[in-house]
Amino acid sequence: MLTVKNLMVFYENALAINDLSLKVGEGEIVGVIGSNSAGKSTLLNTIAGLTLDLKIKERRKGGERITLMGEIRYLGEDIVDMLAVHRVKRGIVLCRERHPIFPESDVMENLRIAAYLHPKAHFRKMADYTFDLFPQLKKYRRKRAGFLSGGEQQMLAIGMALVAGPKLLLLDEPLLGLSPAMQTRLVGAIKDIRATLGITIVISEQFARPVLPMIDRGYVIENGMLVLAGTGRELMENPEVKSAYFGV
């Protein structure tokens, strides 16, 4: 479904992604594991087109010079130069880190905004599914999203991404800052999304432990470079991963 080949991303002269290649098959859940500033967000943002958008904006105002090189193939098409909006239309939806929601709008309005590209019927179906997935959001339909807890905001953010109609869902550190119980609930929800809707998912995380039970395969990156790749089980048994990413 998605093939990234020899991807390089420079912010000015600093290399954020270094010759990175990876593959995501249809229907898979793939993990991207790396510590702070390993390049997880840069990778996902580049796949979603946000880095290209930033590059265009920076060039307009003569700011930071951003360079993108390499290939990103999605459903047989090279999308390196495709604008973010068109990628969303083709089904690449990114849920950015730190639960991006519209704080001044209530929960329902957040979901309605997310349905920008879709007809009402699709919105209803996905909103209903979101409330099935996260029943505790139900009672907050009319509450301003800015007043929800971090965990609830993360649920809403995932719901919004679903309403946006993904074929490939990119989740940037959805477990960040959540309690272990909440993490478990979210992991369950992510599995459900794949099982029920058949959506392909890429999820990034700093630690391997919470995501390993749900991923089919994982990539470990450090300083923008790929250091390890394997199935969930292989990563779990790898001694390096154990010491570096299990946070023991």
Binding site: K61, V85, K89, E104, E109
Partner: protein, 290 residues
């Protein structure tokens, strides 16, 4: 006397609200302070006049044509001027202010000066409210201001485009990840803001003559209302229009009609010193914008 002040204050507040709405809309959504706003206002006024008197088009059609032209002017301004300096507020202000000056002074240069530059009222006549005569045009201004506020609320809360406006106003990067194109919405916000300037122009200008000075006055009034209310806040525009509107009417009544614009200038100065974010400024936590 009291009833007269109440009525005329309301009309004056409506005029201010109409004048400020477009400026506020553009700023609230895209963060662009459109300093060419006053220029677009007189551009629309003179355009209607030209269509009507020079080209002999009928009044209604002239107005529609002026709307479309103002819409396009706003759109093109975004595409060809603002887009290049997007995200650099100072350059945005300089660019729009420069363009505004050019448009206004062009009209002066082309000798668009004099009492013949006036537009007919929509319906002649007046009604008596509580013993005070008030002409239909002024009444219409009040009605349109209230109607526009209501329409605007439904537009931003219940239509796709309106919701996209609210999204971009809050967080354009998150909006982008949902397929909402900030540049498209930005261009649209400028275009819509400009046609609101045109709307204000066609219903307010029949009260007097069209002059280049109107452009400066409208810009000052729009700024006053938006600064007092808190830039980008819709509730702020309404409250500030009422505050400034009634202060102006009282000033005109008890001191000197010429001092009305001084009220706006004083309001800008006082608010900037006392509470720079305005009454309903964005700095207030989770404030309703757009």
């Amino acid at each position: 006397m009291f009833a007269a002040i109440l009525i005329y204050g309301f009309i004056n507040s409506s005029i201010l609200a109409l004048v400020a709405m477009g400026f506020n809309l553009t700023f609230g959504i895209s963060g662009v302070a459109n300093f060419a706003y006053g220029a677009i206002y007189i551009f629309a006024g003179f355009l209607v006049w030209i269509f009507l008197n020079t080209l002999g088009v009928n009044y209604f059609l002239s107005i529609i044509l002026a709307f479309i032209s103002s819409y396009l002017l706003g759109y093109l301004m975004y595409r060809f001027i603002i887009l290049r300096v997007r995200g650099l507020p100072l350059s945005e202000v300089m660019a729009t202010f420069g363009l505004g000056l050019a448009i206004m002074e062009l009209f002066r240069y082309l000798d668009f000066v004099g009492v013949k530059y006036s537009l007919p009222v929509f319906i002649d006549g007046s009604v008596s409210i509580g013993g005070h005569f008030i002409d239909y045009q002024r009444l219409l201004i009040g009605v349109v201001a209230v109607a526009l506020t209501v329409i605007f609320y439904f537009f931003t809360h219940y239509t796709k485009m309106g919701l996209a406006f609210r999204a971009i106003a809050q967080d354009d990067e998150t909006a982008l990840t949902l397929g909402i194109d900030p540049d498209r919405i930005g261009a649209f916000s400028l275009a819509l803001g400009s046609s609101l300037a045109a709307l204000a122009a066609v219903i307010i200008l029949p009260l007097g003559t069209i002059s280049v000075e109107n452009g400066y006055e409208v810009l000052i009034n729009a700024l006053a209302v938006c600064i007092v209310g808190g830039l980008g806040s819709t509730v702020g525009v309404i409250v500030a229009s009422i505050l400034v509107g009634y202060s102006q009417t009282l000033t005109a009544n008890y001191i000197e009609p010429h001092w009305m614009i001084l009220v706006s200038l004083a309001a800008i100065a006082v608010v900037l010193v006392v509470k720079p974010s305005g009454i309903f400024g964005k700095q207030k936590e989770l404030e309703e914008r757009v």
